[in-house]
């Protein structure tokens, strides 16, 4: 007994003397609004419990545009933060600049390879090494519907894009706006992405929008996707340009509009208005995408530090992936945990459905990255494609011209 106690005491002493190797964890993020900020505050608490100091570095705006500007200046001046919220292929671009640290140590001890679905792990790795840690999984191909409105118009929510026009027509006749939408480029792209997935399926989606294969882009399927977008556009109201997504959600909540295509963060808006999933609003997969899942994963890249000390960095990464943090954070944010096999009993029905579909689509191959949310393409191509979709939505461009422009945009690297 005695020796064991001694070891314990020693271990305790080691833990207590940790501050020697503890550091300041400065994290650049853009979670500044109510629920998100509270989630981030949990992270701060947990990091501090490990003996580190949290230095908050929040920069909101433009879905991270402002934060990226700030991050670049910090890196140029030779003073990068420990971690920064960067997602998708941009992780590879940052790694290629040679400024990131790798998380080999912590990822090996915690067996990240078995913890994360391979599709997700690949995004976090650069040349086989983890350089980023994922936080959550947002599903983008949702359709938020007001059941009351559908009932009044005497129709069921559409399950495919082919039956969509008939349903929308009836909704319109009954005096409702069929689709609530905000005419901002990223929202246009969110709708287009769900349409492309529903019209062409996951295989086509992967080829055309992830691998950017010219043959797949230059196909009848892409033309059909644009035709469908043109059709859906007809069922949006004329006041949509520039509207914020949450005002569009309000239209569904108030029963002015029937449905909205938006990621699962829309849930927060319903919850804030005191609405319950299943009764006051429905979370359905966008038409034709029931077996697919477009993911939008927030993640943190970690930077190589001047003092080469990785202790704070790996503690940070390990905390982000830990079960307690995943539980609290994702309940606040409307997303689902990125860890496979997480206990979902405390989450709402939409989140449960999302988590189940995440696992199922991972097996069936229907799990695809969302390009509207910078998960699938290099930033230059993503921007150019967004430009094409946005100008298509706001002009009389023919689907054929749009495909030609899309081809050119996809070549941007």
């Amino acid at each position: 007994m005695q020796p064991r106690r001694l070891t314990l005491a020693l271990a305790a002493a080691c833990v207590l003397s940790l501050p020697a190797s503890a550091g300041t964890v400065e994290v650049l993020h853009w979670w500044t609004s109510g629920g998100e900020a509270k989630s981030a505050a949990e992270l701060k608490k947990m990091i501090e419990a490990k003996g580190h100091t949290w230095k908050d570095f929040a920069v909101a705006g433009g879905g991270g545009d402002n934060a990226m500007t700030v991050l670049k200046t910090r890196v140029v001046s030779g003073n990068p933060p420990v971690a920064a919220q960067v997602k998708g292929p941009a992780i590879q671009e940052w790694a290629a600049e040679g400024v990131l640290a790798n998380l080999d140590g912590v990822s090996a001890t915690e067996k990240w390879d078995t913890l994360l679905p391979p599709v997700v792990a690949n995004v976090m790795k650069y040349k086989g090494h983890y350089v980023a840690v994922p936080v959550n999984v947002h599903r983008v191909n949702w359709m938020w519907a007001n059941p009351e409105v559908f009932k009044k118009a005497g129709v069921q929510p559409p399950k495919t894009w082919d039956e969509f026009p008939a349903v929308a027509e009836k909704l319109q006749k009954a005096g409702f706006i069929p689709v609530a939408h905000g005419g901002q480029p990223w929202q246009d792209n969110t709708v287009f992405e769900s349409i492309a997935l529903g019209v062409g399926g996951a295989d086509y989606y992967n080829k055309a929008f992830v691998k950017l294969d010219p043959a797949a882009i230059n196909s009848a399927t892409t033309i059909k996707a644009f035709d469908t977008l043109r059709m859906v556009r007809k069922y949006m109201d004329k006041d949509m340009p520039g509207r914020d997504w949450n005002l569009a959600t309000s239209m569904v909540i108030n029963g002015k509009a029937a449905m909205q295509f938006m990621g699962d963060w829309a849930k927060g808006e319903f919850a804030a208005a005191g609405k319950k999933p299943g009764t006051d609003y429905l979370c359905l997969a966008a038409p034709g995408t029931a077996n697919a899942f477009t993911f939008n994963i927030d993640s943190f890249i970690v930077f190589a530090q001047k003092n080469k000390d990785l202790k704070a960095t790996s503690d940070f990464a390990s905390t982000v992936l830990s079960t307690p943090f995943q539980e609290v954070f994702n309940q606040n944010k409307g997303s689902v945990p990125v860890r496979l096999g997480h206990d979902m009993s405390k989450f709402d029905d939409c989140a449960k459905k999302s988590a189940a579909d995440f696992v199922a689509s991972n097996k069936s191959g229907g799990l695809v990255p969302s390009f509207a949310h910078q998960m699938a393409q290099p930033s230059a191509a993503q921007g150019a494609i967004q430009d094409v979709v946005s100008s298509f939505m706001n002009s009389n461009m023919s689907s054929k011209d749009a495909v030609a422009k899309l081809l050119a945009a996809a070549k941007k690297r």
Binding site: E26, H29, W30, W31, T32, S33, G34, G35, E36, A37, K38, A40, A41, L43, K44, W54, K55, D56, F57, A58, V59, A60, G61, G62, G63, G64, N66, T69, V70, K72, T73, R74, V76, S77, G78, N79, H138, D244, N246, S250, M251, I253, N254, K256, G263, W265, G268, E269, A272, A273, K333
Partner: protein, 290 residues
């Protein structure tokens, strides 16, 4: 009779002037009305969709939230803690850039030398460089200077990029001042500094006010430099405001946003009210000169 007609005409003209001024004022006030009425509404009322109507129930919750509990990151302390940061950076930056600008304007108008006009032009052309371009090289330079302090960095940057305007204002005012005034003083044996402080500065009140108004507004409202060159607890007000307002996937609280924006604008509004008075005093100074 003619007198009577004339005074009637004068009255009509004055009525017309007031009518135009009031109409203009209404146009300027429209967005403020929207912001104020929104800030007193509850979120439910905003969600119901009548964005331009008067608030149905009058609530001050948004104001107290904006001041002390709204989240601007991991911290949820509202705007109150950022006021000091902005003030600490703004006051020195405004004073330094105004004083240096006044000297520059004085030199570029009264003490022209070979190349001084060229320099003035070069200074003005530089203003058309978009600030976004400046960020990266400036970060590099500040890195070399080892200037770690947020306030120090922001004062330096704001002085550098405010000088063209203060210089422009003062120079363009001083060229209208009769040269004889300075010549006479020089014959009396007054030197460079004496002429500036004794003769020119006292008659520069309106221009000083214009500079103060311009620089205060620019520096207080600057977001780009503020977000890039400050860190953590040194962040100015605008960065906090932006964090509070600008969320992409979070729930938007328009009432809190509007209240926060008005709170953030109070110091500049104060400068306008106080500064404006001195425009009028400037008139008296000008009359004395005449």
């Amino acid at each position: 009779m003619a007198d009577y007609q004339q005074s009637l005409q004068a009255k009509l003209i004055r009525f017309g002037i007031y009518a135009v001024l009031v109409l203009m004022a209404l146009w300027y006030l429209a967005p403020l009305y929207v912001m104020l009425s929104t800030s007193f509404k509850t979120l439910d009322e905003i969600r119901a969709g009548n964005l331009l109507s008067l608030p149905g129930t009058f609530s001050l919750d948004a104001w107290s939230a904006a001041w002390s509990t709204a989240c601007t990151g991991v911290e949820c302390g509202g705007m109150k803690s950022y006021f000091a940061n902005s003030l600490k950076m703004m006051i020195p930056a405004v004073l330094i850039s105004t004083l240096v600008g006044a000297f520059n304007g004085y030199i570029l108008s009264m003490w022209r030398f070979k190349g001084s006009d060229m320099f003035f032009m070069a200074l003005l052309i530089g203003t058309f460089l978009p600030f976004q371009v400046v960020i990266l090289p400036m970060a590099q330079v500040l890195g070399w200077l080892q200037l770690e302090n947020s306030t120090g960095r922001l004062v330096l940057v704001h002085v550098i990029y405010g000088l063209q305007f203060t210089t422009l204002f003062f120079r363009n005012y001083y060229v209208t001042v009769p040269g004889e005034l300075v010549k006479a003083a020089r014959i009396d044996g007054a030197g460079f500094f004496r002429i500036f402080f004794k003769i020119l500065l006292p008659i520069s009140v309106p221009t000083i006010m214009v500079c103060l108004i311009w620089q205060t507004t620019q520096i207080w409202n600057d977001y780009l430099f503020g977000v890039v060159f400050s860190s953590g607890e040194g962040q100015p007000m605008t960065v906090a405001l932006n964090n509070l307002v600008n969320t992409s996937t979070g729930v938007k609280q328009y009432n809190v946003d509007m209240a926060a924006a008005i709170i953030a604008a109070l110091p500049t509004l104060l400068v306008y009210m106080v500064g404006g008075k001195y425009f009028v005093r400037g008139l008296t100074a000008g009359a004395v000169k005449g």
